[in-house]
Symmetry: C2
Subunit: 364 residues, 2 copies
Amino acid sequence: MLDYFKIPKKDVVVVQAEKLRRTTEKIFEKCGVSKEEAQLGADVLLYADLKGIETHGVSNLLRSYVDWYNSRRLNPKPKWKVVRESPATATIDGDNGLGLMTVAHAMNIAIAKAEKLGMGAVSIRNSQHCGAVGYFAMMAVEHDMIGWCMTAGGNAMVPTFGSEPKVGTNPISIAVPTNKKPPFIFDAAMTTIAGNKMGLLERIGAPMQPGWVAHDDGSPDMDGGGKFDFFLGNQRMQLPLGSTRDLGSQKGYGLGVAVDVLCGILSNGSGFASLAGERRAHFVAAYKVDAFNDVDEFKTSMDEMLQGLEDTKPAPGYERVLYAGLEEYEEEQKRKSEGIPLHKEVVEWYKGTCEEMKIEFNLI
Amino acid sequence: MLDYFKIPKKDVVVVQAEKLRRTTEKIFEKCGVSKEEAQLGADVLLYADLKGIETHGVSNLLRSYVDWYNSRRLNPKPKWKVVRESPATATIDGDNGLGLMTVAHAMNIAIAKAEKLGMGAVSIRNSQHCGAVGYFAMMAVEHDMIGWCMTAGGNAMVPTFGSEPKVGTNPISIAVPTNKKPPFIFDAAMTTIAGNKMGLLERIGAPMQPGWVAHDDGSPDMDGGGKFDFFLGNQRMQLPLGSTRDLGSQKGYGLGVAVDVLCGILSNGSGFASLAGERRAHFVAAYKVDAFNDVDEFKTSMDEMLQGLEDTKPAPGYERVLYAGLEEYEEEQKRKSEGIPLHKEVVEWYKGTCEEMKIEFNLI
């Protein structure tokens, strides 16, 4: 984790994961979500909190979800359904339910198809925010499959050479099974940083970094230090991964557009307002390793590769070379035993919400 | 195309595409390749030359291919075969043939599976260079499918925080059918620039740009201006897309590793020396649009989205906003009628090679 994402020590309250999970489940239930779905939703959020992905855990997301349930932007009891299907694929209408749950159901369908046919993919429309896409990719890993998950939504990314935000941050996750090493879990927005990191940064008072956003006229801000009102509101323009054309921003932009295609246009056709901020759609795929190769050989080779990457001699100023998912795995081990550090503001929010909803508050 | 990739006017020789195609086919045949396969190989190279992707056309690639056929590094008559198969997937052993041809055959298999089941994917091992991955992704587009192609090989990319090259440039292509607009064709290395661009830059005497390579100790060179011996040889260290950790280089690095997994480890298991420079493997997938949604609605929506991106108000200093594949499409229209501008050195090479191989030279 980069230092500027760390919560200042004086603001940290450590909370046990299981208490946080149960309280989160109860809050979902009070929003009208069934017990089973509430457990699933809390599991997706806790996945992020345990791994140190604060941007996609309870702190940054749960209060929005509660607001959205209250305002009926979110359907607490969605009747999601498969609206089109082929042997290896399906399209789901999410009936405006929270993506945390709907994408998990979609991935179960993809996994079942991959189990039979070698691979499966599902595109999901009329959905809402789905949290950390890595969670759903990891569902496939538990079945010895390579999992993919993408999500499209919002207008945050300014196209290369452009001066208006048109594409979402549109994260991609790819998770791969291993033998002894922690699994490879790539999970990243196609902007230089995830949109939710902005909220986190604001809360902890971190400075804006170079290469993250565009100035009002669209030109990349390569100096940093800007204020947060610089990117909020009408001109919320995050730069694509690559930041400038010379550094390859057309690649982050192009991948972002591809995510919109696979999630939104594939599931929705002309019903999908591809450049409208309110859209939210997802795509999952599962590739069964055994369909391509021997599973044990594959996993052994993965271990070797990941170890080889870790063994790379570090550049000056760095202690070691990581691979995607490694640091989060280590954090997870730590947080499972020591608890999850939350910003005191978040704990206050839980306290107030529990009071309002008449839930027993026992986080601290 | 960035200006520093343009061939200086005094060095340009314009050649008609069909003459270049026929001469290239004959050269492949003289290397021992069958007539049909030679036509396919030339078609893949001409695809790049027509679209202005000089790095992956005849100029940069054909002479290496000829050398490799001569030295038997390449098998001119590979007996490639499907070594493992499931209904929706296959694994191919390429028998060390040139990827230009083998990946096309693999994509045909993926397309046939997608036609039946909604999607298909093929992982290819024991192969060699495959040229522009966009060619193979576009094969699926002709069948109203979304096409993917990736290729893994070489040690060019230095992992984030590392000081040794471990991963390939590992390009990804995603091509998507449209109605009236030129198709969306994303085709990009997961390093800030493609490895082959280095050769091109050297030939045309362009300067090294900031954010492209690492210094000998692994620290990102964010100043540029370096000499070409700086990145050739043992320390050929290209930076992942994102260049530095603060700009998101862990994302280019992670995607690069994922490409190695899908191409190499998936097809080869422990037989795949994942971090060895000499490996070369590929992955293709086809998603049938009709399996997910109405094809006409999908294409109409694609047109709308791409037009919406083009209509983005440009940032100061830019005339217009592009999308992946647009500029290359326009260049293709121009080059089909006006011819392909080659560096005079390349034409000289053709002349010499034709003489040696006893092929009639009629390019100019």
